[in-house]
C-alpha cells in the first residue's frame, strides 16, 4: 500500500495534463491516417501497405513546397493534391490489373510499392531527418503551462477533414457512388456507375488523407524515410482494435491508443512506449477479437 500511494503521489500532474492534450492531438492525426486506410480497405478490399509511405511522401512534399513558397497552408494543399494524383496513378498501374484476383495479391503489390517509395525517399532526400516549421507560433495558457495553439489547430483540422469526408460519403454524388459500390459491385456497375474509376477515386482519396496527415504531423516530429512503417502499423492496430471497417470505432481507438502511449512515455522511453499499443492489440485479440469499440455481435 505504501508503495502504491507513493507512486500515485509521484505522478507529475502537470505532465499528465500535457500528455492528455498531446495524446488527443496525435490521436486525431492517427484517426485521419486510419480512416484513409479503412476507406481503401472497406471499399476495395485492398490492404494498403503503402499507406505509411504515402503519409511520408506527403510530409516530404510538404517540406519541399514549404521551402519554395514559404506558406504552410499552400504546402498542405499542394502536397495533398499531388499525393492524390500519385495515388490514382499507382492504383491504375498496379492495383487495377489485380481486380478479381485473390485479395492477398494486393497486399503483396502494395508492399512492393512501399518498398519502392521508401527507398526513393532515402535516395532522393537522404537519411537526415527533416522538420517543418510551425505555421502558428502563438501559445496559450493551459492552467499554468504554455501550450502551442498549432497543436490544437491540427486536432481541429483533422477532425474537420474526417467530418467533411463523412458528410461527403453521406451526401456527395461520388460518395453515394462509393457506398453503392461497397454494397453491391455488380449492381452498381449495372446502374451505370463506373466502378473501376470509383476504385481509382477511392484510392486517391485515401492517399490524399494520408498525405494531409503527413503534412499536419510535420511540425510535431522529424520526417524521415522510415516513419511510414510506424504509422501504418499503428493505423492497423487502430483498425483492428476499433472494429474492422468501422469509422467511429477507428477514431475512438486512435485517441485511446495515442493517450495510452502518451501516458506510458512519461515513465519509459518513447521507443518502448510503442509496446503499450501492441499490448492493447494482444488483449483485444484475446478477449474481444471483433474490436473494442463496437457493439457485441450476437
Amino acid at each position: 500500500m505504501e508503495a502504491v500511494s507513493q507512486f500515485i503521489q509521484n505522478i507529475p500532474l502537470d505532465l499528465l495534463l500535457i500528455q492528455t492534450v498531446n495524446g488527443i492531438v496525435t490521436g486525431m492525426i492517427l484517426a485521419l491516417v486510419a480512416s484513409g486506410l479503412t476507406l481503401i480497405f472497406g471499399i476495395m478490399d485492398v490492404v494498403n501497405f503503402a499507406h505509411g509511405e504515402l503519409f511520408m511522401m506527403g510530409a516530404y512534399l510538404g517540406v519541399l513546397v514549404m521551402a519554395t513558397t514559404g506558406s504552410f497552408w499552400l504546402a498542405l494543399i499542394i502536397a495533398t493534391l499531388m499525393i492524390a494524383i500519385l495515388g490514382a496513378a499507382l492504383q491504375i498501374l498496379t492495383l487495377r490489373p489485380l481486380i478479381g484476383r485473390d485479395p492477398l495479391n494486393t497486399i503483396l503489390v502494395t508492399f512492393g510499392l512501399s518498398l519502392i517509395l521508401q527507398n526513393f525517399a532515402l535516395w532522393e532526400y537522404g537519411p537526415v531527418p527533416r522538420k517543418l516549421p510551425e505555421p502558428i507560433t502563438a501559445h496559450f495558457n493551459l492552467f499554468y503551462l504554455q501550450y502551442p495553439w498549432y497543436r490544437i489547430v491540427i486536432a481541429a483540422l483533422s477532425a474537420a477533414i474526417i467530418g467533411g469526408f463523412w458528410l461527403y460519403l453521406k451526401y456527395g454524388k461520388f460518395g453515394i457512388w462509393i457506398r453503392a459500390t461497397t454494397q453491391d459491385r455488380v449492381m452498381a456497375q449495372a446502374m451505370g456507375i463506373p466502378v473501376p474509376w470509383v476504385y481509382t477515386g477511392v484510392f486517391a482519396l485515401g492517399a490524399a488523407m494520408a498525405a494531409a496527415s503527413g503534412v499536419l504531423f510535420g511540425p510535431l516530429g522529424s520526417i524521415n524515410h522510415t516513419m511510414g512503417l510506424d504509422w501504418v502499423l499503428k493505423a492497423f492496430i487502430v483498425v483492428v482494435v476499433g472494429g474492422m471497417g468501422n469509422l467511429g470505432g477507428s477514431i475512438a481507438a486512435a485517441i485511446f491508443i495515442s493517450l495510452l502511449e502518451a501516458y506510458a512515455s512519461i515513465w519509459v522511453s518513447p521507443a518502448q512506449a510503442v509496446i503499450v499499443s501492441f499490448i492493447v492489440l494482444i488483449l483485444t485479440l484475446l478477449f474481444r477479437p471483433t474490436g473494442l469499440f463496437v457493439a457485441t455481435p450476437k
Partner: protein
C-alpha cells in the same frame, strides 16, 4: 534434361517414373551444390552459402504461404530469435559448442513462434499478416532496447564454433566445410518439409488453404493445425537464423527488423509459392539481381527500387513465380 540420354538407351515404352526423375534431379542439383565451393572463388562460395540460408528461411515461410494459405510478415522474429539464441549459447559456454547453439536457437525461435502462433492464428488473411508483423516488431523493440543482454544497436559478436562430434571429431570450419554443413542442413530440412507437406497433416493444411470453413465442418480443429504449422515454420526459420549467425559470426537487431520478413515474402513470390524449392530459387534470383545492380551502379544505388518494380511486375504478370510451372510436378 537428365532424362534425354537415358531415354535413348531404353526401349521407347519404358518411361521413367515420376519418382525416379525426381530423385535423379535431386541428386544432380545436390552434386552441383556440393562441388560448387570447390570450383567457385571464395566470395561466390560464401554468396552461395548465404543464398542457401535465405532459401531455408523462405522455404520455412512457404509452409505457411504456399501450403496453409497464411502470409506471414513476421518471420524476422523467428530468424532473429534463432540468431540471438545461437549467440547466447556461443558467448556463454566455453569452448563454444555448435550443437548447443542450434539447440538454443531453436528453443528461442520455438518460444517466439508459440507466442505469435497462439495469438495471430485467431485472425485470418490480411489480419493474420498484420498481426505477425506487429509481433515481430515487439521482438525487435525488445531486442533493440534491452542493451544489457542483446547489445542493443551494436548486436553481439562471437567466434565461429568448431564442427565437433563429441569424443570423436573436432575441426575448424573452412568456407567449404561450412558450405557443406549448411547444405546438409538445408537439404535435410527440405526433405523433412516435403515429407510434412505430403503427410496427412500436410493434406489438412492444404485443405485449410483451399476451404477453411469446410475443413472445420469435417471436424478438424483448424486453429490447432494452424498453430502447429506456424510453430513448425518458426522452427525452420530459427534454424536459418542459427546458420546465418554461425556463418557471419554476429547477431544484429537489423535482422529482427521488418525488412527481413519482407525479403522472405519477396523470395517466396519470386520463386513460386507452394513448391518448397521455389523460395530457394527466388532467394538466389533476388540476391543475384541485387549483387548485379550494386556492381553495375555502385554501392550507393538504391537497388530495392528496381527490385520492387520487378517484384510488382512479377505479381501482375507471373503470379506463379519462376518455378510455378513445376508446382504440380514437384508436389506429386
Amino acid at each position: 534434361m537428365t532424362t534425354a540420354p537415358l531415354d535413348k538407351t531404353m526401349p521407347p515404352k519404358a518411361k521413367l517414373s515420376h519418382t525416379t526423375v525426381y530423385w535423379i534431379g535431386f541428386c544432380v542439383v545436390m552434386a552441383v551444390l556440393i562441388v560448387a565451393p570447390l570450383v567457385l572463388p571464395v566470395f561466390w562460395a560464401k554468396f552461395l552459402t548465404e543464398i542457401l540460408i535465405w532459401g531455408l528461411l523462405a522455404m520455412s515461410s512457404d509452409l505457411l504461404i504456399g501450403y496453409t494459405g497464411m502470409i506471414s510478415f513476421g518471420h524476422s522474429a523467428f530468424f532473429g530469435l534463432g540468431m540471438y539464441g545461437a549467440a547466447g549459447a556461443l558467448l556463454h559456454t566455453s569452448p563454444p559448442n555448435l550443437w548447443l547453439a542450434i539447440v538454443y536457437g531453436l528453443a528461442g525461435a520455438a518460444g517466439a513462434a508459440l507466442f505469435v502462433a497462439y495469438f495471430s492464428t485467431r485472425l485470418r488473411d490480411i489480419y493474420f499478416a498484420i498481426t505477425t508483423l506487429i509481433f515481430s516488431q515487439i521482438f525487435y523493440v525488445i531486442i533493440f532496447t534491452w542493451t544489457a543482454v542483446t547489445g542493443g544497436e551494436n548486436g553481439l559478436i562471437f567466434t565461429r564454433p568448431h564442427f565437433s562430434i563429441p569424443f570423436l571429431y573436432d575441426v575448424r570450419f573452412t568456407t567449404t566445410t561450412m558450405h557443406w554443413f549448411v547444405l546438409a542442413l538445408v537439404a535435410g530440412s527440405y526433405l523433412l518439409l516435403r515429407r510434412i507437406t505430403r503427410s496427412p497433416f500436410g493434406m489438412v493444411l492444404q485443405s485449410i488453404r483451399e476451404n477453411e470453413a469446410r475443413t472445420r465442418a469435417i471436424g478438424y480443429p483448424v486453429q490447432r493445425y494452424k498453430i502447429v504449422s506456424v510453430m513448425l515454420s518458426g522452427l525452420f526459420a530459427g534454424l536459418a537464423g542459427v546458420l546465418y549467425a554461425v556463418q557471419n559470426e554476429f547477431a544484429a537487431p537489423d535482422f529482427v527488423f521488418f525488412v527481413t520478413s519482407g525479403d522472405t515474402v519477396i523470395f517466396n513470390v519470386m520463386g513460386g509459392i507452394g513448391t518448397l524449392v521455389g523460395p530457394i530459387v527466388g532467394a538466389g534470383f533476388f540476391q543475384l539481381l541485387r549483387e548485379l545492380l550494386s556492381r553495375v551502379f555502385g554501392d550507393q544505388f538504391p537497388y530495392l527500387i528496381p527490385l520492387g518494380v520487378v517484384f510488382i511486375v512479377m505479381i501482375i504478370f507471373l503470379p506463379q513465380g519462376l518455378l510455378g510451372f513445376a508446382r504440380r510436378w514437384l508436389n506429386r
